[in-house]
Amino acid sequence: MESSIIKERVSDVLVSVLEHNNFEMHDELTAKDVDGWDSLSHMMIITEIEEHFNIRFKLRDLNKLKNMGSLISVIQSKI
């Protein structure tokens, strides 16, 4: 899957969990930049992404998710 498509779908997941779209998708985007993306919603976002792409993150993957770019590439490596 192309990363632009993955990015779009991740964006949809964020909107559905966080209930707003006040963010711009780019590779350097981090949780800190997005309202409401805290440790609680992070867990929900991860679960939603797993279901949406039908993949499963390993615990080790979670530490690699430093920003949107790394999230997209970890997802890409799993589908």
Binding site: H20, S39, L40, H42, K58, L59, L62, N63
Partner: protein, 494 residues
């Protein structure tokens, strides 16, 4: 103070051992001793002899931990100030604790308007870990916890209290040596952090902290596996996060896995015990007022464990604590009967910082075994069985535990009311789908956009106190006593 002499001896004896691991850097005890001595000299040069409390910006680095020891060697108490907390809250704490000086390891100092010693720019000083003459009634730290009227309340802990805790902790037999690698997962404004750095220092063990920008639970897992941690005190919410990944975790090096700060469910504990096959698991309990923790229960791998509603017992009082369970008139209740858990002993705080009103409310004297003893009401509803094990049933008041932090729901309501221009609201703590506690806010009003409300609350309260879900209701339901039916409101979040 023997405790401080013990710290000195341990640091000097283990100078070649690793003391800390931050991010990806190890520091030896020798390096630690050097940083302590530099900061100590800075304190001597810049802070008045009469200043007994000093603010400490809680960064995750060697200077911050060295500042604590340096202050103690000088007989001064530290008051942790989290730079991520709202400025207004930190200002309240600074004012209340009568802080004149702040130790800060940040490159750009956090508070411009206060006298700050930047602990990472000090000159090299001669190593000096010999403590001054310090009495047991002098303060080691003051931690501020959530207060009911919108003002945090200070809990001062003396060196005598802290010595009482350490003595009782070693008595449990959860042994640490200079070969051990210990987790310190707590923000320094949370008193479980004290146990997590102090016990390892006293034995020359290595302390592993969590960088602020990491996701706690997955980072803990990597530390456990990559660095073969042997000792870990955690809050149970970490287990709830890790639970979906238990099948990936195998850490045979772990020797002691302690839990504190929240109810510990038996089923999760059983599953966790498979991830750490060689570890002793313990459930410890205690409020900040009774110095870190004061009761202990060792989980039994091979036989039945005592529970109430699926929650493990908090066990028996430790060596230097006495517990009783009382009714509303402070009379002890019988075995198996419910009542409020009260604590006394060497670990008990001398009382809230400059808050006589609150002290009268929660401390009382009572004849116990022929002596007049001062007890503290914990606000925890408990019962004790015929073997002396205490079972935790819930809170008697409106407090909640969020990620181990004690939260007065009324403090959230107080600020919500101010922000909402007198609209009524009720804060409730509810258990979400992954068994962690979340805060919900019900507002007595027709629905409106709550973005501004959340923004305003964030300027007044720490992140863990911000409601994560909001509901609206035309008018609050009342219970048979004519009070707001909080139970019904809580059901709105299921």
């Amino acid at each position: 103070m023997n405790l401080l002499l013990d710290i000195q001896e341990a640091i000097e004896k283990n100078d070649t051992q690793n003391a800390f691991y931050f991010g990806d850097t190890f520091y030896t005890y020798k390096e630690f001793a050097q940083v302590i001595s530099n900061i100590r000299k800075g304190i001597q040069d810049h802070i008045s002899e009469n200043d007994s409390t000093v603010g400490l910006i809680t960064n995750d680095d060697i200077e911050t931990y060295a500042s604590i020891i340096a202050l103690w060697l000088e007989g001064k108490a530290y008051v942790p100030l989290n730079p991520e907390f709202p400025e207004s809250r930190n200002h309240t704490v600074i004012k209340q604790a009568e802080i004149n000086s702040i130790l800060d390891s940040s490159t750009d100092k956090v508070f411009d308007q206060f006298k700050t010693i930047q602990s990472n720019t000090l000159d090299i000083a001669e190593i000096n870990l010999t403590p001054r003459q310090i009495g047991p009634n002098e303060l080691a730290y003051i931690f501020f916890t959530s207060g009911t009227t919108g003002t945090p309340k200070g809990v001062p802990i003396t060196f005598g209290n802290l010595s009482g805790f350490i003595d009782a902790f070693w008595d449990l037999g959860y042994e640490i040596t200079n070969k051990d690698r210990c987790l310190q997962m707590f923000e320094l404004t949370f008193d479980l952090s004290v146990m997590s750095y102090l016990a390892p220092i006293l034995k020359g063990a290595c302390i592993y902290t969590i960088p602020k920008d990491e996701i706690k639970y997955s980072y803990i897992f990597e530390l456990m596996e990559d660095h073969e941690l042997t000792f870990a005190l955690m809050v149970p919410s970490i287990l709830h996060y890790l639970r979906p990944y238990f099948d990936e975790i195998n850490c045979p090096a772990m020797k002691f896995s302690l839990f504190c700060g929240e109810a510990l469910p038996l089923d999760v504990t059983q599953e966790w015990s498979q991830c750490i096959p060689n570890a002793t698991i313990a459930n410890v309990y205690g409020p900040t007022e009774c110095t870190i923790f004061c009761t202990d229960y060792t989980y039994k791998r091979d036989s039945e464990n005592k529970t109430y509603n699926g929650v493990l017992t908090i066990g028996k009082d430790m060596k230097n604590t006495t517990t009783i369970i009382v009714d509303e008139d402070n009379n002890e209740v019988g075995i198996g009967e419910k009542g409020e858990l009260c604590l006394s002993g060497a670990q008990l705080t001398p009382g809230y910082w400059k808050n006589e009103e609150k002290n009268k409310e929660v401390f009382f004297d009572k004849e116990h075994e022929g002596k007049k003893v001062r007890f503290y009401r914990t606000g925890d509803l408990c019962t004790v069985d015929d073997q002396g094990d205490i079972l935790y049933l819930g809170r008697v008041d409106f407090q909640a535990k969020i990620q181990g932090f004690r939260v007065e729901l009324s403090e959230i309501e107080f600020h919500a009311k101010t922000v909402l221009d007198k609209k009524n609201s009720v804060a409730v703590a509810f258990i979400n789908s992954i068994h962690n506690t979340e805060i919900g806010l019900v507002i007595e009003s027709t629905a409106f956009d709550t973005k501004q409300l959340i923004e305003d609350l964030k300027n007044r309260l720490p992140q863990y106190m911000i409601p994560t879900q909001i509901r609206f209701i035309d008018s609050f339901p009342l219970n048979t006593n004519g009070k707001t039916d909080r139970k019904k409101l809580k059901e709105m979040f299921n």
